[in-house]
């Protein structure tokens, strides 16, 4: 394997990892607030189709991305209502969201199948940075949404660990009773963070339909929403660790396509299985590790909060 090919694979890993990264960041924020949202797949699909439709009708991918963010936030609001206000089972509500989002996106996108995206997020090198050997072509010859994720990760990390609002966020996920007792509005904050999580999932979807594989296809996320949920566990709810995880998963994804292109004598079906099998293995490994180190999920994850529960 020569250097160029390695750079190619690494750059592809970043590209393929970016939608996973956005979705995982969103889920980290949501789960940090104590709400498990298994509807990532549905929210991504909703974002992907909305982003594509708006980009096609306006001719501007930025409007598409914005619409995807809003659409992801809108459908996640359903999950927020059910899990925060109605105290419904969060696993089932998330599944419902995935099924609903799959249907909704299929419905809305039906007449957009096969239409090429007029304007997409295309790659452009960042001046100076792109000239750094190895790192430059891998990290700094990407599209605008990848660059945006570089900014977003430290911002979210700083927010969670270094600001008052981040402290409140972690508190409502660890012990909502304690947060409530000191006057933090658990209900409103949980709504907000579920919706922010949904917005990022929507953006992740838009990345797929406007940058990664610019087109709309039914079920085009192909399980990436679920991989993102697994990634959150792998990253131990830490946005910085999610970056490495996302690119690792992206790398497996990219590697499959490369191997096919290299004419490797393995059926493409097996190569397509790789990300799923890899995720399962990593999940098993990550769970064993977190159990050992006693760093687990936020203490109140997936438990609804009822102030007068006796």
């Amino acid at each position: 394997m020569d250097g160029n090919m390695l750079i190619g694979i690494l750059a592809a890993a970043v590209t393929a990892g970016t939608p996973l990264l956005y979705a995982a960041l969103g889920e980290i924020i949501t789960e940090r607030a104590g709400i498990l949202n298994l509807g990532v797949e549905g929210m991504m699909l909703t974002g992907a189709v909305t982003g594509f439709i708006v980009a096609v009708s306006t001719g501007n991918p930025w409007f598409g991305a914005l619409a995807a963010i809003l659409a992801g936030g809108a459908v996640s609001l359903i999950h927020a209502i059910l899990s925060v206000t109605f105290q419904a089972n969060q696993v089932v509500s998330g599944l419902a969201l995935t099924i609903f989002g799959t249907g909704l996106s299929g419905y809305l996108g039906k007449s957009y199948i096969g239409i090429p995206a007029p304007q997409t997020f295309s790659k452009f090198p960042l001046p100076v940075l792109a000239d750094i050997p190895l790192i430059g072509p891998v990290l700094f010859n990407q599209d605008a949404l990848v660059y945006f994720s570089y900014l977003l990760v430290p911002v979210i990390w700083f927010y969670i660990y270094k600001t008052k609002h981040g402290l409140n966020l972690r508190a409502i996920g660890e012990n909502p009773g304690a947060a409530d007792a000191v006057g933090i509005n658990v209900f409103v904050l949980r709504y907000i963070y579920v919706v922010i999580g949904g917005m990022l999932a929507g953006l992740a979807g838009a990345y797929l339909s406007l940058a990664y594989a610019p087109a709309w296809l039914e079920n085009m996320t192909a399980g990436r929403g679920w991989i993102a949920v697994a990634l959150v566990i792998f990253a131990t709810w830490n946005p910085l660790k999610a970056v490495g995880g996302a690119y690792l998963f992206g790398g497996v994804d990219a590697l499959g396509y490369r191997m096919q292109a290299m004419g490797l004598d393995v059926s493409s079906f097996f190569l397509k299985m790789l990300p799923y099998i890899f995720t399962i293995i990593v999940l098993i490994f990550a769970t064993t590790q977190t159990n050992k180190k006693h760093i687990g999920a936020p203490g109140a994850l997936s438990l609804s909060y009822d102030r007068e529960e006796r």
Partner: protein, 531 residues
Amino acid sequence: MFFMVAEGLVRPAVSCITCQGDAYMTQIPLVEMRGITKRFPGVVANDNVNIEAYAGEIYALLGENGAGKSTLMNILTGLYRPDEGEIYIRGEKRVFSSPKDAIDAGIGMVHQHFKLVYPFTVAENVILGQPTSTFLDMEKVEQAIEEISQKYGLWVEPKAKIWQLGVGEQQRVEIIKMLYRGANILILDEPTAVLTPQEVRDLFATLRQMADQGCAVIFITHKLHEVMAFADKITVLRGGKSVASLKKEDTTQEELARLMVGREFSRKRIPRKPAGDETILKIENLHALNDKGRKALDGVNLELKKGEIVGIAGVAGNGQRELAEVITGLRPATEGKVWLDGRDITNRPPRQIIDAGISHVPEDRLGMGLIPNLNSIDNVALKCYRSQEVGKLLLDTACLKERAAKMVADFNVKQASLYMPVKMMSGGNLQKLLLAREISNNPRVIVAVYPVRGLDIGATEAVHELLMQEREKGTGVLMVSEDLEEIFKVADRVAVMYGGKFMGVLPVEEAEVEQIGLMMAGSPGVGGVAS
């Protein structure tokens, strides 16, 4: 005088760190609750309750478990909304729609179960929910905490994570939290339940210091001697009603006891014939870890005789729960042995230990001992569903129903229907049903953890009577209790647990309260280890 009151009205949340005591000794109570009523499904937790507390006072809210004390305070702190009644702070009517409103009015509460975020540091817990700048300046907070610590003798390490602290320290964090917020109405729910006698004295010294600086301190308790030792005024709650409000000078421990339980207090020991000589359960050098993987049992030794009740005294969290779980097979022993009738049952699966004849009344009644959403019949089946009498492959529902009905009748369990989820039953009836099931197996040994916690006086009597009956039958009973009166009343011997060990095991007749108090605080006893 009027001016002072007015100032209080204008600045309702003056910190007791800054305010000067005497200025607040006004005729208007700092906090007043009038005609408070709160209903939960099936119970009236508070029924037209009135209290008033003045600045500079330590105020006791006395009552048995279930008398409605915690509900009342949850209303005052904005956690619950009252169905009826009004709250006045410095004479001004206030409606608390959330805890935030109560905090803004200067009310701070230390709950019995601390409201702390365990993975956070002390400082992070203290500033949680405080109006600070967006970017956290932890150094400033840590400094402020150290100032408060020094002023009141509430020492904690601001950078420590809560889960690394002992319960006494965690309580100090809760108090610091309130002081940092400038609370001047301090409420403490059963503050001494988890403390050693020495820690209790320190706590009240701190509370007195706060009262002297113009705060009103309200503490909730059911312990009479604490009330007499530390309170200025007392309101007694019984069955959700306030039955009396008294000054300490005008009352006696006996009167309070009578008001609290509704009849004269007795210190009598239940008469009994001597226990047998034959050892049923033998525990040797038992070691185990707690849920966090830290040492919980550190070499426990005990021989339980036939027809004997051994009371395990000690401050909660010193390994009592873990000991019960290791004996019943729910927690692995890392070292040591447990023998039942000379048979090694160490680390056997719970199923085999149940079949060997060990019954277990767990601390967590509703959740472990009983299944909240299932009905009485299904709950009764929990320990007998594997026996041949109730069916082989399919369960004989008629037989199970008959069993449940018999238990309900024999043990006087009050419930609307056998088919109702047990979570709808009162604490006393739950415990009777649980005991009925555990006794019906004709056990060799009963491990009962806090068997009367939260029960009213009638149910407590019933549970003690049942345990005594079992004793008469020759069953060995291990009873974990935090109430020395209960141990003196029921047990033959008392074992005092501290730091995962027995500090001493001695016959109840020979035990002195003072001596047990010292052992609870960690000094080795004179009674010798595991006779």
